[in-house]
Symmetry: C2
Subunit: 127 residues, 2 copies
């Protein structure tokens, strides 16, 4: 029987980074962190679930905004300490600022400038 | 004058994650970490330079294999604590195992299985 490969949560205070990619556009939407509990919740529900470092709590992405991430594919890296999730992004926007992607600023010369597409007004979504 | 936006190295022991995406195929190649020194070296040389957590040393990606990463675009996330590099991957392979991407294993059922494309034999490259 094949050896079961699992994410290695032993580095980084029990947290590993998860890269989130839009399955269809292949845009990178965000990076978040998972502990074992978040990983298991993601597998069980099919909805991306992270560990919020700022709130120190389990975080079902989209629980406030409705912009859930439906997990379609999961990849693990060579060291088993980083995950790549390919998701269907409900609501077309991943970032709490209202942009489609959290990576909405691009380096131009010596500074980062906004290049991303804004999908919603965060003041209307997070009341 | 616009405020200069910079990566925030104050979290995570002075290290921030950098997602590396192939500019052309839009495949995710790897995730690595940068400290300020690695970030500045990347900007100065145009070659992706990281901080190796295992070796505790500056790491010019490709210095051994020749598989340098030429940085074409850099994005920063909403919290300024994660970078996204779009690169031209020299040698077509980013992973030290010889695979094109470090994310060469995909979750199928309850286990991860190899789905990636192997480009080189690591025993020949890293002598």
């Amino acid at each position: 029987m094949d050896k079961i490969i699992e994410p290695n949560f032993s580095k980084g205070d029990g947290l590993i980074p998860a890269i989130v990619q839009d399955l269809e556009s292949r845009d990178i939407l965000m990076l978040a962190y998972m502990n074992r509990q978040a990983w298991e919740a993601t597998l069980q529900t099919g909805r991306a679930t992270y560990w919020s470092r700022s709130r120190q709590a389990l975080w079902v992405k989209g629980e406030t905004s409705g912009n859930f991430q439906m997990v379609k594919n999961v990849f693990i890296d060579c060291d088993s300490d980083t995950l790549l999730l390919q998701v269907e992004q409900i609501g077309k926007a991943a970032c709490h600022t209202g942009y489609k992607s959290c990576f909405y600023r691009k380096l131009e010369g010596k500074n980062f400038v906004v290049v991303g597409e804004k999908i919603f007004d965060p003041e209307e979504v997070y009341k």
